[in-house]
């Protein structure tokens, strides 16, 4: 359980540099106290996650189309490891197809966000996701049946 003094630890893996910049600017403007770590592809992310002494994130934002290891491959690998069972996974993709949403939820994603086109919608959607995720972590709700998409 986290309390209000703790900060939320957030990861983002996205190969698009502009998307990473927008995302970190949006996070910085939230009222909550957050710590964000960025990765430029799936391999870099997985190399980080295998370290046994890292502090596990509360939520990981994952782009689907990345060179090397794709978002889906990362998702499957992370969900196969019980060490990460309390980490919420948010898919952060340009696709808004129902099939992608359903497929990634079946593979263990918790949140699905279609990348918004403008900064103010991005801020709004990240605020909603981070708040909802906070409720799940701070009230000990079941991450396994946690779904949220906008």
């Amino acid at each position: 359980m986290i309390t209000h003094q703790d900060s939320m630890h957030i990861l983002l893996a996205d190969d698009d540099e502009d998307d990473r910049t927008f995302f970190s600017e949006a996070i910085q403007e939230l009222k909550m106290n957050n710590k964000l770590t960025l990765f430029k592809d799936g391999n870099e992310l997985m190399d980080y996650l295998v370290h046994p002494d890292i502090k596990l994130p509360h939520v990981l934002f994952l782009d689907l189309n990345m060179p090397g290891k794709t978002g889906i491959e990362c998702l499957k690998q992370i969900r196969a490891n019980t060490r990460f069972k309390d980490v919420s996974i948010a898919i952060y993709s340009t696709s808004s197809s129902e099939k992608d949403i359903e497929d990634t939820f079946i593979e263990g994603a918790n949140i699905y966000i279609t990348k918004p086109n403008d900064f103010s919608s991005l801020k709004k959607v990240i605020q909603e996701v981070v708040n909802m995720n906070w409720q799940f972590h701070s009230s000990g709700l079941n991450i396994e049946t946690f779904f949220f998409s906008t």
């Binding site: 359980m1 309390t3 009222k31 359903e102 909802m132 409720q135 000990g140 049946t145 949220f148 998409s149």
Partner: protein, 186 residues
């Protein structure tokens, strides 16, 4: 072999507390949800040990008064959502201010200041959380669930479910079923 099971978090939590307190030889009395009384002569050393041993189970001792009030508000809301038959003719705001002995205005202010959400929103999240359990574990129909959770109509329940999860209840059930199939096939 994979087994599906369900569990009661409250009973599990009480059993863990009993085990750990007895292991450390601390005299205690279990009170309401999320509250225990321990004797005043517990040494700092064993209190620290208790804190560490409970941390393993994600049980954290809350020692600031506002944190305690938040926890009491959450517990009272969960009580109402899960045991509605105990509260036939009382509004949630009335119940919270009676039980916690504060004005409702004060309670809502403290709550939103510390939890990043409103009491109303927290109640909705808890109700939908319970609806999810009823769909998966009891396989109740939406009509039965809307009655159980005091919704005025099935349509209203569906709308709220979609707002909180992004999914319709039937899509939710299909995804959970497919996830289980997937993990059973591994």
């Amino acid at each position: 072999m994979k087994l599906n099971f369900n569990y009661d978090g409250n009973i599990a939590c009480r059993a863990i507390l009993q085990d750990q307190l007895e292991k450390l030889d601390i005299k205690y009395q279990l009170l309401d949800l999320g509250q225990i009384e321990i004797s005043d002569d517990v040494s700092e050393e064993s209190f620290a040990e208790l804190e560490i041993s409970l941390k393993k189970y994600a049980i954290h001792i809350i020692d600031n008064p506002k944190g305690q009030l938040i926890q009491k508000i959450k517990d009272a809301i969960i009580e109402i959502v899960y045991e509605k038959e105990k509260f036939p003719n009382i509004t949630i705001s009335q119940y919270l201010s009676d039980k916690l002995n504060f004005r409702y205005g004060y309670i809502t202010n403290v709550f939103s200041e510390y939890t990043h959400t409103s009491i109303e929103n927290f109640i909705i999240i808890q109700k939908i959380e319970r609806a999810k359990k009823l769909i998966i574990e009891e396989e109740l129909t939406l009509t039965e669930i809307s009655h159980e959770l005091n919704y005025s109509s099935v349509a209203y329940l569906s709308t709220q479910f979609k707002k909180v999860t992004g999914l319709t209840p039937s899509m939710f059930k299909r995804i959970v079923d497919k996830r289980r199939q997937l993990s059973n096939n591994e």
